[in-house]
Amino acid sequence: MASTSLDSPAAAAAARPGVRRRPLRPSVDRAALVVLTALWAIGVLLPILSLVVISVLQGRGLSFLWTVSLQPYADILVSYRIEPVLRTLRIVVVITALEFVLGFPFALWLAKGLREGWTKSILIVLLIVPFFLSPAARTIVWRPILGREGLVNILLTSTNLTAEPLDWLLFTEFAIHLGLIGPYFPSMVLPIFISVSLIDDELIKASRDLGATPMQTLRTVVLPLAMPGIAAGVVFTAVPMLGDNIASTLLGGGQVSMIAEGFDDLIRAMNYPAAAALGTTLLVAFAFLALCIRFVLKRLGTGFDIFEGMKG
């Protein structure tokens, strides 16, 4: 290490044009990286993984007894009804599929059908902004809009479209679906948009010049190359949604509960190992999804180098 830094690196680079050297940075920088990564692993990743361990312990208040038992899993499967878990999975699958249907053509159009310019910039900003807005504030507004004495029902009854106010609008699965579609749309669109943007226009033109129909180009050129983005979109949409507590609390109103409220119930009942068991199931679901996607991408032979993507 020391000897290379004594060479004149600029001269060496000039002597071999085209060869990108990896300059060896001074060890202080690397030490910082190593220390930070170690802290991150111990302080953040370890606590998250420790849920797996806690989930097989027995709890007494917030302290845990070091005796292994599978009681927590029995608790979430039996006494804590399995219904909210299945409902959550169903809702997540439906919404993720819906986001894909709504988002894929839009992302494709945004990346390859729209000229660079103001419209494109504004649409991209509109997709980025919601990540940084309070999720609770923009969900709570659905209540006065969908409620029994809310805006939609007032409009419906005053125009005599319905005789009675509709009561399936709020505190139902319908409301939860409606409340989830908006917030999770950017998480699906942005990764697909980025991966489609990275496809070279020349490839698409070549496909057309060789006589492919737009549909064939889409299926054989665009879709395989966009696969990493689609995979990222699915993960970024489905996994956080599994633990979403805002839509279900505010729009389910305690009548349609999802996994996130299960955490609340279990913690209120001081059954911490069972809460950890529930968390472990989410972790396993995440790991399973990630492995599936890795497998699919490997079979397709495409990878996604985020660094190359950023050089844009």
């Binding site: 920088d29 991150w40 940084f132 807005l133 226009d201 996994v239 956080p240 050089k311």
Partner: protein, 272 residues
């Protein structure tokens, strides 16, 4: 340089297919922005809980600053304090990590280690921190644990902002500076900082906002701390008259957040 992209290079989009794509996207964008616009409109409504925007009134805004109803100021100060601290910590850590990462060979795993927490449900991270630190190690939760979970939330975004500028940083500049006799500190201040500045600025803004608006991770780690999103959450879940005030308060925060995001994205996009 690259030619200006044509309107429709692929011929994938004929008139009707483009229209379908736009309509599908518009449906989702309306579902995304209707509640945001609704919040702004209802904050001026005399009867916000009915969802009817009229008659208009400014009462909620004036009430926000008087007597009993001004209790949100304490949580606001707490949230700004935590936000600034998290913004500084996340940006500093992301800078330390991001400027070395493009140079190392086995960076894929490292990147996964830092970015994987991005997709984990917030509530899960909060519970993990509560159980590990409070349960296993017996630390009291409070200010530090809120800062920790917000840091975990902000760091991946901060790192992405920094990486956008560091992957394009030309390290031959530093080699040239070494040859010209500049020491490491001068190199960092005179060369790296100005060139990486757009990423650093964007990271600072975004980290602040992520912390400032964070709720699910805070729920179980807050100890006795009341952040502004938590205050709004409890107030809006209750059935008191305070709910009407929440619309005005949330509208103000949302407009401010919107402006900050616009500034930060502009800074970041300018760097290209």
């Amino acid at each position: 340089m690259r030619r200006r992209p044509r309107h429709d290079p692929a011929g994938i989009f004929t008139g009707p297919t483009a229209a379908i794509a736009v309509i599908l996207g518009a449906v989702a964008l309306v579902l995304l922005y209707a509640p945001i616009a609704g919040l702004a409109v209802l904050s001026f409504s005399a009867r916000p809980l009915t969802g009817i925007p009229w008659p208009l009134t400014l009462d909620w805004y004036t009430d926000l600053f008087t007597g009993e109803d001004a209790r949100w100021i304490g949580p606001l100060v707490t949230s700004i304090g935590i936000g600034l601290l998290v913004s500084f910590l996340a940006t500093a850590a992301a800078l330390a990590i991001g400027r070395v990462m493009p140079l190392i060979r086995r960076r894929g795993g490292l990147l996964v280690a830092y970015l994987s927490v991005l997709v984990l449900p917030g509530i899960l991270v909060g519970i993990a921190v509560l159980f590990f630190y409070r349960g296993l190690l017996d630390f009291r939760t409070g200010f530090w644990s809120v800062v920790l979970v917000h840091f975990v939330w902000a760091l991946p975004f901060a790192l992405l902002c920094i990486l956008i500028v560091t992957v394009r940083f030309d390290h031959r500049l530093l080699e040239a500076a070494t040859d010209l006799g500049a020491n490491k500190i001068r190199q960092f201040i005179d060369i790296e900082l100005p060139l990486l500045n757009p990423g650093i600025t964007a990271s600072a803004f975004f980290s602040f906002l992520l912390s400032f608006n964070e709720l699910p991770r805070t729920l179980y780690t807050r100890g006795g701390i009341t952040t502004l999103p938590y205050y709004i959450w409890t107030a809006s879940a209750s059935h008191s008259s305070a709910v009407s005030l929440i619309y005005a308060l949330s509208a103000i925060i949302m407009v401010a957040s919107f402006v900050i995001v616009l500034i930060a994205t502009r800074v970041l996009m300018r760097s290209r």
